[in-house]
């Protein structure tokens, strides 16, 4: 059954539309019942009144006929007796006396009387019935007058009553339509009221997903909604605590690693000073150790920086920086001898950006590092002025990065499938993730695309806002 309902329920309709429709249908049902009851009662009532009024009048007319018919000629019956009867608008007398039929108009005569009524009256009983006369509702009353050997009939046009009932029905239909519409509007309004807390919840959930972990729902006095709000807030608090604990853990671990690293670095230094006293194998081992200590230091530094970002504790030390000079310096510092050409237009010499020198230098260094590890070395570093900023472009001649991995490479400890296949064993680790964080905090963007000249290779672009040029 439930499944049937589920299948019947249109999937495209939202909760709000469904509530509205339910309200409208409810209002329709209610107003239909009310209207039809009202109509039926009113109709019966009005008909009764008309009938009893007609009956008493017909009896009066019948007794008039009964008294006067004995001494009246057929002509007098037609010209005097019938017109003297009490006849309101729409009442037509038909008299059967002296073996003849009398009526006031030619259209109404013995044939107008329903045969069953005639048969009833013929057998000596008075009767009445409603029927259709010339396509109009009508009441027929028949009274036998045995003492005068006559039968008196009266046909009463009920079409005025019908039009009253019609207009009543029309009004009731109108009322039902209005009620249904009002029900729909009420449903729409009520559903909005009802769903508002849900909208709040969805907004709060979005805010949390967007990183504002301290977002909470307002406490409410409504006992029904209070449960939702408090369980939502509990969930958010648990989530926040967990994320913060994870972040703190990463930060604590990195902090704890610094002291042993410090000792390691100093001890390796001491050994390196005595390198000549060591055997060949020991020297090789020392080289491995020294290399790993450097990598380890970088990793711990990156982890600490990342956990600062996670804790939202990064404050940029902003300086006005001449970007062209800065990038050339950064490239020469981080390329250890193997020089990479920096391409720039002369108009870029005066471009000044606001940046944290240390962090922006890391951006350049990490991009070059990435090109060395995964792109067979950086081919060019270029500076370009674009409409609302300046771009630092690093191109390499590696295999490039397939479209579907272009966002992933900026995630932590991501290794592109391409990079992984190359089996260098050195992950980018946090390098590109930090690039993304640094650039974002500087109000810029970073992305990777195909090389502009069509050669295979990746093209990393950092776009920064310009302070002045």
């Amino acid at each position: 059954m439930r499944r049937l309902f589920a299948r019947l329920r249109p999937r495209s309709l939202g909760l709000r539309a469904r509530i509205t429709i339910a309200f409208a249908l409810g209002a329709l049902l209610l107003s239909a019942i009310l209207a039809s009851t009202t109509f039926a009662l009113t109709r019966a009532n009005t008909l009764n009144q008309r009938e009893s009024a007609a009956l008493s009048r017909v009896y009066v007319n019948a007794s008039t006929v009964k008294i006067r018919i004995g001494s009246t000629s057929a002509t007098d019956i037609q010209d005097t007796l019938l017109p003297s009867l009490q006849l309101p608008n729409g009442a037509r007398p038909v008299l059967h006396a002296q073996g003849k039929w009398f009526s006031l108009t030619a259209q109404i005569g013995e044939n107008s009387i329903p045969p069953s009524l005639r048969a009833l009256v013929d057998s000596g009983h008075p009767g009445r019935m409603t029927f259709t006369l010339q396509n109009k509702p009508a009441l027929a009353v028949g009274i036998p007058l045995p003492s005068a050997n006559a039968e008196y009939f009266e046909l009463v046009d009920l079409s005025d009553l019908q039009s009253t009932l019609d207009s009543l029905g029309f009004s009731l239909l109108g009322a039902a339509v209005i009620t249904t519409a009002a029900g729909g509007v009420l449903g729409w309004w009520a559903s909005r009221r009802t769903l508002r807390p849900l909208a709040d919840v969805s907004q709060a959930a979005e805010a949390i997903a967007g990183g504002r972990l301290d977002t909470r729902l307002e406490a409410t006095l409504d006992p029904d909604l209070g449960v939702l709000a408090s369980s939502f807030n509990d969930m958010a608090a648990a989530l926040q605590e967990r994320i913060e604990r994870d972040a703190r853990f990463a930060s604590d671990v990195s902090h704890e690693l610094r002291s042993p690293l410090m000792t390691l670095a100093a001890a390796v230094d001491v050994l390196e000073t005595r390198r000549d006293e060591l055997g060949e194998r020991s020297q090789a081992a020392l080289d491995l150790l020294a290399g790993e200590v450097v990598r380890f230091r970088q990793l711990v530094e990156d982890l600490l920086e990342m956990s600062r970002y996670d804790a939202g504790a990064v404050r940029l030390e902003l300086d006005d920086i001449r970007l062209a000079e800065f990038v050339m310096q950064a490239v020469s510092v981080s390329s250890n001898g193997d020089s990479v050409p920096v391409e720039l237009d002369s108009e870029l010499a005066g471009v000044v950006v606001q940046a944290d020198k240390r962090r922006l230098a890391r951006v350049v260094a990490n991009l070059l590092d990435n090109a060395r590890k995964y792109g067979d070395g950086p081919v060019t570093v270029a500076l370009q002025r674009v409409e609302d900023g300046v771009q630092i472009v690093v191109e390499d001649e590696g295999p490039g990065i397939p479209e579907e991995e272009r966002d992933v490479v900026f995630e932590r400890f991501a290794r592109g499938g391409v990079a992984g296949r190359r089996g260098s064993g050195e992950g980018v680790g946090l390098g590109l993730a930090l690039v993304a964080e640094h650039v974002r905090l500087h109000g810029g963007r970073v992305w990777v695309e195909d090389r502009a000249d069509g050669h295979p290779g990746a093209r990393f672009v950092v776009e920064l806002p310009v302070l002045r040029s």
Binding site: S259, A266, V270, T273, F326, R358
Partner: protein, 226 residues
């Protein structure tokens, strides 16, 4: 006599390893585990360079820094946990000449120490005394007087002043000053210059808030005016 270095560090392993590395540079290293020990050792026998870890139990590194500064112009290198905190500025304002963040390579430390122990550059061998208004600088003797009264500058402050004095009126960028005074390349921390200029002003300016000698040129650097 060889250079004596006092290292203040509460982690014994780090202390030992750093001591060995510094001794390999030919320096004599004296160790202190706490701030109190350090101050006591320094009073007993002042060293040529002091290396202070800011995070010390008891008397913290800032306090050790200030106490040493009260009696001495010896170069002080402090070790901080992070480069981007207020710790760096606070340490420099407490009197440190330079800083390193943990974990650092001992080679960086010895490079820092060597840079701080360099003598002030003589602006011109022929010049023995330079005058800028009420200010009088005698590079050879390491003496600065204002209105005849001798001022106590640290070695680094004095070198900074001499550097600015070598071309009066010329604007020195922070990068240039970092390189000439501290031996850093382009990527040195500009706050070193800013805090030292501030410290220098409190000593040589009559009104440090409205300096007349060491002027800031917005967005460019600093210059010395007569």
């Amino acid at each position: 006599m060889s250079t004596r270095i006092l290292t203040v560090e509460d982690d014994e392993r780090i202390r030992t390893a750093v001591k060995m590395a510094l001794e390999d540079e030919g320096w004599v290293v004296e160790e202190a585990e706490t701030g109190e020990q350090a101050l006591e050792a320094f009073q007993r026998h002042p060293s040529d360079v002091v290396l202070i870890d800011i995070m010390l139990p008891g008397v913290d590194g800032f306090e050790v820094c200030r106490s040493v500064r009260r009696t001495s112009d010896v170069p002080i290198v402090m070790v901080t946990a992070r480069a981007d905190t207020h710790d760096v500025v606070a340490g420099l304002e407490a009197g440190a000449d330079d800083y390193l963040t943990k974990p650092f390579a001992p080679k960086e430390l010895s490079a820092r120490i060597r840079a701080l122990m360099r003598r002030a550059r003589k602006p011109d061998p022929a010049t023995t005394t330079m005058r800028f208004g009420d200010l009088e600088i005698i590079p050879d003797a390491g003496v600065v007087r204002r209105g005849g009264t001798e001022l106590h500058l640290t070695k680094t402050e004095f070198r900074l002043l001499c550097e600015l004095a070598s071309s009066p009126g010329r604007v020195f960028s922070r990068e240039v000053l970092l390189e000439r005074v501290w031996g850093y390349g382009y990527f040195g921390d500009g706050r070193l210059v800013d805090v030292h200029v501030r410290r220098l002003r409190t000593k040589i300016e009559a009104d440090p808030a409205n300096p007349r000698h060491v002027l800031t040129v917005r967005g460019l650097g600093y210059k010395l005016q007569g």
